[in-house]
Amino acid sequence: MECIQLKEGISVQPEAAREKVFEALYKKAFPGVARFVSKMNGTLEDSSDIFQDALVIYYEKSQDESFVLQTSTEAYILGIAKHLWIRKFTRDRMRISLDSTEINITLPNDYVPTINTNQLLKFIEQSGRKCMELLHTFYYEKVSMKEIAGRFGFITERSATVQKFKCLEKVRDKIKEKSIAYEDFIE
């Protein structure tokens, strides 16, 4: 079975600190990406779109313990942006030169979600928002169970832990409800 990447034990910045990081990266790396997109005859909107995805991918990669940046941050983000551009406009592939570092950059293979995953998320966001928030806080904000208990109004850590599993069950059952066939899970 394919391994699921849920990283544990890596410090994650809270949203406010992340905003500062994103702002700094915008200043540093957006001009290069915008220049590239403009050269490819893209619009400002194209460049913002590609850059925003590149930033999310970069951020995600940088959270990985094994990630080693072998070039400058802005060069790396530009590399991701080039790959995103190639993925979007295959016809431009021959026009884009990738240097040796850029060639080795990979995009997460699940970055473009399947229609199925997208629809499931929409459905779950409507009907199970609180559970999604709790699960997100636990898996992605790396907040301790003690703090989760406080934030979500549970008296003990223990009851927060039980609630986490109840939420997994609730969301899982919603997914089952929406998936008529087992095949829906095979992507």
Binding site: S38, P113, F165, R172
Partner: protein, 88 residues
Amino acid sequence: MRTSLNDIALAEKYLLGKLEPEETLVFEARLLTNPVLRWNVAAQKKVYSVLKLYHRKKLKKEVQVVHQTIFNDAKHQDFKQEILQLFK
């Protein structure tokens, strides 16, 4: 915890590759003989994919807020001009 929740906890460890080899064997044997469990685990795996998408969407929203700030705040005027210049 009730049994169904214990199975969820177990399935999580299984999906994350955190079970001991012998526990994995036992769990896989149960998967083979128990179609309901199999379906539950497949759906639970999907929960994590959906959660990851949820996370990425949240991050992208945060990035978009930063974009708005930079492009609307007078403080970043020079930067904005530098970018706009590229698309003239």
